[in-house]
């Protein structure tokens, strides 16, 4: 489909104009360049307090995770190993994502309840837990973009069409495609499937 500009805007005249307060209430996502960040700030120290109260129950006192709940810290240099540990510190390319997700989606079960300063503080604490800032660090909308994310350069855009060009194949093999076939692994050995009877 071509990307063409529409012929007439408001053709149907349906809906009503959104009010500024309404847009402000819902348009709270934060982009990598900081678009969407409200003014505010929070320290690691205060963040530790809030985190202990609202987050540690699931994510651990040091953001190291509890049971099966997500770990938010650790995992540096594990991405090219077996079972990489992907956390804000080891994996996330943009700090905006942490601010945005904590602000909109956490705490789990009581989302969208945090004040901006709390979110700055919590994010500062998560950075601290990941050894990315010192204990006297204060995060704010001013210094937000200065934080360097360790894995910022770790992403490439979908390259399947080139890296996997050989999966496009006009005449896949139909006969005698290999010499022998052996079973190399069995699911029953693991036995992790729920009982369905």
């Amino acid at each position: 489909t071509l990307i063409t500009a529409p012929v007439v805007a408001g053709e149907y005249g349906l809906g009503r104009e959104a009010l500024p307060e309404e847009v402000a209430a819902w348009d709270v996502d934060v982009a990598p360049d900081g678009t969407g960040l409200p003014a505010g700030s929070g320290s690691v120290e205060y963040g530790e307090e809030v985190f202990a109260e609202a987050c540690a129950y699931c994510h651990g006192d040091f953001a190291e995770g509890v049971d099966n709940w997500p770990k938010l810290a650790g995992g540096a240099d594990t991405l090219d190993h077996e079972d990489p540990l992907k956390t804000v510190g080891s994996y996330w390319p943009y700090l905006s994502t942490t601010w945005d997700y904590v602000n909109r989606s956490m705490p789990f079960g009581y989302a969208q309840s945090l004040e901006p300063d709390d979110v700055y503080a919590i994010v500062a604490y998560i950075l601290y837990s990941n050894d990315m800032v010192d204990d006297d660090f204060v995060l704010s909308n001013e210094n937000f973009l200065e934080v360097e994310m360790p894995n910022a350069g770790g992403f490439i855009i979908d390259d399947r069409e080139t890296a996997e060009a050989h999966f496009w194949n006009d005449s896949p093999c139909m006969e005698n495609c290999k010499d022998s076939v052996e079973i190399t692994m069995r699911a029953m050995v693991l036995d992790v499937t729920p009982d369905t009877e």
């Binding site: 819902w26 991405l79 996330w92 770790g154």
Partner: protein, 410 residues
Amino acid sequence: KAGIAAGGAAAAGAAQAGEPDPLITEVQDWASYTGDGVDATPYGMPIEYESDVVRRNVEWLTADTISSINFTPIHALDGTITPQGCAFERHHSGAIELRKEDYRLMINGLVDKPLIFTYEDLERFPRTNKVYFCECAANTGMEWAGAQLNGAQFTHGMIHNMEYSGVSLRTLLEEAGLGAAGDLKDKWVYVEGADASSNGRSIPMEKALDDVLVAFKANGEALRMEHGYPVRLVVPGWEGNMWVKWLRRIEVTNQAIESREETSKYTDTLEDGTSRKWTWEMDAKSVVTSPSPQSPIPHGAGPLVITGLAWSGRGSITGVDVSIDGGKNWQEARLAQPGDDKALTRFYLDINWDGSEMLLQSRAKDSTGYVQPTKAQLRDVRGLNSIYHNNCIQTWWVKESGEAENVEVS
């Protein structure tokens, strides 16, 4: 019949070899007495005997069932349509109850006029209808490191296929006006849900103006609560996480938002530790749904129907090959209907089973010329840590007993 079944005081039961079957020779209750009337079930459910054909979750996969997934019982279904009642669910903060009256949809950002629509407003725009599959990018994700879950429901059940009715996203964007966006080529649309997970995803403008739907019905009726009632996004061929449920906001932006669900999750880590992002399209894929571990062969040698599903996020299925010897030799399966764009295709291979064990595989081919790769081919490029987009060829080891097991082969 009275006269005929006269001597028939014999206990009901399986017919003896050579003996008349009492299920036939004796008048059964259901052939004499009346059944349920037309007021019994204003909205019906499956018969009690099919109570095993349900969604199932895997407890150890997630910390709780609120941000979790369950699986479509594809091993027990036929055809292509997935009934809403057993179509898999993925929530990040549970399925919410949102009344149509309380529903609002905002369009904002780089538009000429930010708009608020009620549910009723949406029903006034021109509508479209089409069947599409919705596959979670994590479908088959537990199988990267090796054969793990023993059943097609668990290995391939994060998929459903429904007929959607709704408004084209393009129509809504045009209503708000895209003049303010300037050159549309590098623009994005950010879509977001009303639930507490606030799931949001960035969609390039080209796709947004192509075939994306703002849908309110699936398989003819209202979306179910667990699928985003009253309104969800349908992003044909693209990973399920983008099909935002309880859709509340659409923002035209000049950059991808890089939300948690498009950075921390739904990115695919390669062997060297770098990760692919923006892997939206679901690669062509297929699976034999029966026989399979949860659907063993209940009979011995002789005629056997091998059947399964195939799909591609890039277009339509043009063919499916089936191998019974673990990929040494392949035969072309029969497609029940010609492949339909970004929708499930049912395939069949009717064989005369000799009763010996089989290593059953299927291989999908799509309209772009893509051929579903083996696990080895996929691992060669992607390693073991991709989590998402595992579209490898699946192998079921069907034993002489007719039982089947999820295995990997050389």
